[in-house]
Amino acid sequence: MTAWLQHLPVLPIIVPLLAGASLLFFAESRRWPRLLIMLFATLVQLGAAITMVWLTTDSVPDVWSRGIGVYAIGGWHAPFGIVLVVDRLSALMIAVNVTLAMAVTVYSIGRWDRMGVHYHSLLQFLLMGLNGAFLTGDLFNLFVFFEILLTASYALLLHGGGPQRTKMALHFIAVNLTASFAFLIGVAMIYSVAGTLNMAEIAWKWRLMPSDERGIAQAGAAILGIAFLVKAAAWPLNFWLPGAYHAAGAPVAAIFAITTKVGVYALLRAGSLLEDPSAPFGGAWLFYLAIATMIFGIVGMLASRQLPRLVSFVVILSSGTILAAVGSGAPSMIAAALYYMLGSVFATAAFFMLTGMAERLRAALPGVRDRAATPPPTYTAFAVGEPPDPYAPDDEVGVALPAAMAFLGLAFVFCTLLVTGMPPLAGFIAKFSLAAAAIDALPSTGVPGREWLFIVVLLIGGLAGLIALARVGMRLFWSVAGRQTPRLSITEAGPVAFLILVCIGITIAAGPTMTYLDSAAAGLADPKLYIQSVLQQSREVSP
């Protein structure tokens, strides 16, 4: 059993790769084999992710020593080969990612996957890139997985076609390509000094580096940090986000809720490993940048009139909140920020899915069909036939849900409570623990104003979110003129309910979750164990 378990870390990369590739062999019209493949693949990944979370807890200490699993790809050990490293943070991120992917996959079955071709293949490749980025212990390999997830996300953003999506994808691709170049320059500069790409060995050599070489390495790390901040949507590098997320289809925007968190993860990981008082991944400037991001999100939320755009700014606000906690540097704040991230990823994803259903409320009104219904060029290219009209009332698969309006309204209220941090759901616990951790961190830092600034902006963010969402919600649900109750299928409503239930679950199980996150944050604060676990393996093999 243990011999098989050691191959567990590679499953979240291999399974979506194989599933995505094998989906290409089935024509779009053969729905059942495709459905089986993608549901099976997502379930396997979910199983692997949950097992990894279980193995990194302290309850099974004998499989992976001290909760850190190292998998040498091809049997080449660090620093010569590429290693996959599972620690608590990686396992947690993969679990969040795959849970979200499960909901998005089921949600898309209803109508979205028929608006273009190869939707599910692209979704699996996106999952592969995300899982790989969370797992890898090699800096250049991180770049490769970033590119995989970005390429899949470009195609997913274009899914469904239309001038608006194409225009936004143009901006999205240009910005992300430029960020990728910054990533490469940073990696190359770090390599030129450290002579290795293995993150654990870079961290080890960082401490021994002579001061004249340290400057180049720090410049490289700073350029790398810019690339991560573009992905994490930090102000002023986030102007691509609202337009792109607004233009994307509802399930695509939902899975994009986690792609910004990859940037946050990379910052956390690099910041933890390159621990250095003058390192560019933590400290004051990141904190103030994050506060600016939060303010940008707040202003954007209040200025938005449409729900998808509003939720895009909620994503920016949540990115800013997490980055501020990272910038403050206290481990207790990082644990609270991780808890906040759990709730906000699921809630914003549910919100985006809800948006896709609520759009149909407006679509029933005459003159609101603002998005041009030009058929995507892929349809003619691949000869799939006529694309379904996205607003046609009767092209849905599955059982219709009774009381559609009640469900939409209730889900809207739950999502609003979650993202604004109102009691009694996970958002409140997250914001409360963030504020409590900030107050705890007060005396230890020299500048007491920073923590209060963070708390004030955090609370204003909640209030502004409540105002903006209540306004949009009133227009959406209480205006009765010409409204037509949409027909919701179980496959669309189910995932939203599932994500909200997951959020309620982590609210109820807040104690165990926080214990796990505390130890994840402790692992980040003290990376010695990580470095030892990765490098020790090579010492054992080559004495």
């Binding site: 250049f140 194409t166 143009l170 320059i185 190359a188």
Partner: protein, 114 residues
């Protein structure tokens, strides 16, 4: 050689950034291509510049690492070229689609004064 390489990378980067900030999609993709050349050259020279030394280490026993070129940046640059090529091709398709759908080659899909 160092001066030539440095100037080359600098000129490529400067032209690339300038073109990237232009309003036409064709200029943007040319800028991105030039930037990717600059980045590839930059990665390549991060393994130290050397002439007439092989990257494949031969012989057994102890070898003098200074007699060989660093093979890792060469492998990295290959990967970066392949990825850059693929993303540029994808970007080109998106540009063509945007041109067809909006009827203009402005990056915002509409001319500024219209």
């Amino acid at each position: 050689m160092e001066v030539i390489l440095t100037l080359g990378i600098g000129v490529l980067t400067a032209s690339g950034v300038w073109l990237l900030l232009r309003p036409r999609t064709f200029q943007v993709i040319m800028g991105l291509s030039l930037l990717s050349y600059a980045v590839n050259l930059f990665i390549f020279c991060m393994g130290r510049l050397a002439i007439d030394v092989p990257p494949v280490i031969t012989g057994d026993g102890r070898v003098d690492a200074s007699q060989f070129a660093d093979p890792v940046p060469q492998a990295l640059v290959l990967t970066a070229i392949v990825i850059g090529f693929a993303t540029t091709a994808l970007f080109l398709v998106v540009i063509l689609a945007a041109r067809g759908m909006t009827g203009t080659d402005h990056v915002d899909g509409q001319e500024r004064d219209s």
